[in-house]
Structures are given as C-alpha cells and as structure tokens.
Symmetry: C2
Subunit: 201 residues, 2 copies
C-alpha cells in the first residue's frame, strides 16, 4: 500500500489545469499553474515553451468542437459560412472566460488555422478580394466571440427599472429566456451579416 | 508628524480598486478587494450592497466615454446608430478584460440604459418591430464587444506558418498594423451591419 501514483506531468495535464484556473479566475500565471499541479515552475518548461504555448493549447480546446463542412465549391458561399460560424460559436460558448485571453494572443493553432483557411477559400471563391476577405473574417470573429459571450449572459440581460423607456421595454418584453433569446438573436445577426456582406463591394 | 491620513473608503475608491484587480487579473473577489484596500470585507458592505453593485460601477466607467448624439428625428437612423456604436466601441476598448465580467451580469447602470434607450427609440422610429429591435441591439452589442476585444489584439493577430493557405495568406498580407487594421475592419463591419439590417424585414 504505497501512496497513489502521481500522474506524470504532460502538456495535456498542464492545459487542463490552466483551463481550470481560467474558468475559476479568468486568468492563469505560470507560478499559479505550478502550484496547482504541485510541481516547480521550471518543470513546466520541460513540457511547454511558455505561457504562449499554453494559450494555444487552450485555443485548441475552445476550437475542438468546431465542425468544418465538406468543401463543396458549388454550394452557395453564405451557406458554408453560416455552418462554420454556428459551429464556431457553439464551441467557444463553452469557455466564455477564455475569450479575452485568446484574443490577446496571435492565433497559431492548427485547428484554428484550418477554419480560417476554409473561410478565406470560401470568400475568395465568392469574389471577395484579399482585403475584404480579411475584413469579413475579422467581422465574423467579432460577431461570433461577442455572441459566445452573450450566450453566457444572465436570463434577463437587462434589468427593467424606471429608466427603461417604452421602446426599450417593449423590445425587452419580446425576449425569451436565455439560451433561446441568445440563439434567436444569433440567427438574426447571422442573416444580417450574410445579407450585408457583398463580394467585390 | 503622524502617519499620512488613510483616504476614506468610498464607492469610488472601491470601484477603482476593483478595476485595478480586473486589469491585472481579469477578476475581483470581495476578499481580494478588502485586502487591496486594507479594510475588512464587512466594511465594504457599508458602501456597496455587494459584488453586483461593484460590477455596475465598473460598467459605468466602461461606458463613461460613450457620447450619445443629439436625438434628431429627421436624421437617417443608420447614421445615428453608427455614431453610437463607434463611441461605444472606443469607450469599451479601454477595458477589454472587463468585457466577460460585464456580459455575465444584467445591465443596470443609468449610462448604459440611456444608450440602449436611444438605440431602441431610433430603431422603433425606423420601423423595426419590438422583437427585431431586441435582436438588432443584441447584434450591435455582440459586434461592438467583439470589436473592442479585437482592438486589444496583438499587432499580427494570426501567425503565418506553413499551414496558412494561399487565400488566407493573401488576406493577412493586406492587414495594416493594429490599431489601423482593427479600425478599418470595424468600419467595414459597421457598414455590413447597417446594410444588412432591414426595418420590418
């Protein structure tokens, strides 16, 4: 009867511990991570090059449920984009606290690059020039990440007080409880985006 | 020569200390806040009702530079909305770490309600029904908060590695350094949104 074996340190265990810290506190530091894993900070560096690599491991997890559709050149571009963005939002909505951390670091994970490649190919084929492709992808990113945060919002995202005017009160009264409200607003926003995006415009 | 007078505890000092904690760590707890202010947790409750009120004080600060245009019923609705959203993004971009904290709490600050009232009045007057007014405001919120996070992104938000395909590489090559890239993408996204939003649609 010895003590239970200590699980070996691995990039996977390091990423899981960092994710736990982010979910609880919104942040992780290398010293906190070492303390949580009961190892010295220097032993972390035997497995990862530093904080930046851990952030990319967390990005891989946030992206892990993104399903990319098959590339079908004949399919309308807006349908392919809609599929990607729906899946992107669902995957990120699992980790809202991670979002500002991920946006503060350059994207360098295979799964993320695969998604951005597919968006770029789809937009290029639809006739968007290179500059508009970058702008459109940035817009999609901002919309999806904002929407993932909205899905984590409270049931009633606005309190109805005396200062709420009649037009805003009428609008708020139409809202179903979250997540139905957030899902409905996301589909509306997606339709607005796809209507407003104009290839070669 | 006595010790320097300890500044009196006030809601303003409490909000400043909470903001410092959020900027440094992404989060604040009441015990951390008490420690930072060198007071007991219970004395915080002589000034604020709890964490929720402090979050609203932080929201007021994030909104403090939002400039609302004069209400001009004859002005095209899209111009009024564009003015509000530009100012909303600039004000929030000062505090990107605050964004997931604010979206996790119901909005209950006067400054924020004033802005949402103005958006609702403008959309209602333009012919949006109550349900679409809520959806459109939610879309604007998601877009603005995502764009405020984008403004805090690194100079090169994507790393160019071997996995980046030719279409994505061409798009990335058109991007100016941040903040010019983020500003340009925001204006493009704003135009897309305003083109895609259809009253009574």
């Amino acid at each position: 009867m010895g003590r239970p074996p200590t699980p070996l340190l691995s990039t996977d265990r390091i990423a899981s511990a960092a994710m736990d810290l982010v979910r609880a506190t919104g942040e992780f530091t290398m010293p906190d991570l070492a303390r949580k894993l009961k190892v010295s900070p220097s032993s972390l560096y035997n497995h990862v090059s530093g904080r930046g690599q851990i952030v990319e491991l967390l990005r891989e997890r946030a992206m892990s449920e993104v399903q990319l559709p098959d590339d079908q050149p004949d399919r309308p571009w807006a349908e392919a984009v809609a599929d990607i963005l729906r899946s992107y939002r669902r995957s990120y909505a699992r980790y809202p606290r991670l979002i500002p951390l991920l946006t503060a670091y350059a994207v360098n994970s295979s799964h993320a690059i695969r998604m951005y490649n597919m968006l770029a190919v789809t937009l290029h084929r639809a006739g968007f020039d290179a500059a508009d492709t970058l702008r459109a992808i940035t817009l999609m990113d901002c919309f999806v990440l904002g929407s993932a945060l909205d899905l984590a919002a409270p049931e009633e995202p606005w309190e109805s007080g005396a200062e709420v005017g009649p037009e805003l009160a009428a609008a708020l009264a139409t809202g179903a409880p979250t997540p139905a409200r957030a899902d409905d607003a996301f589909e509306y926003g997606l339709a607005v985006l796809l209507r407003g995006l104009q290839p070669g415009g």
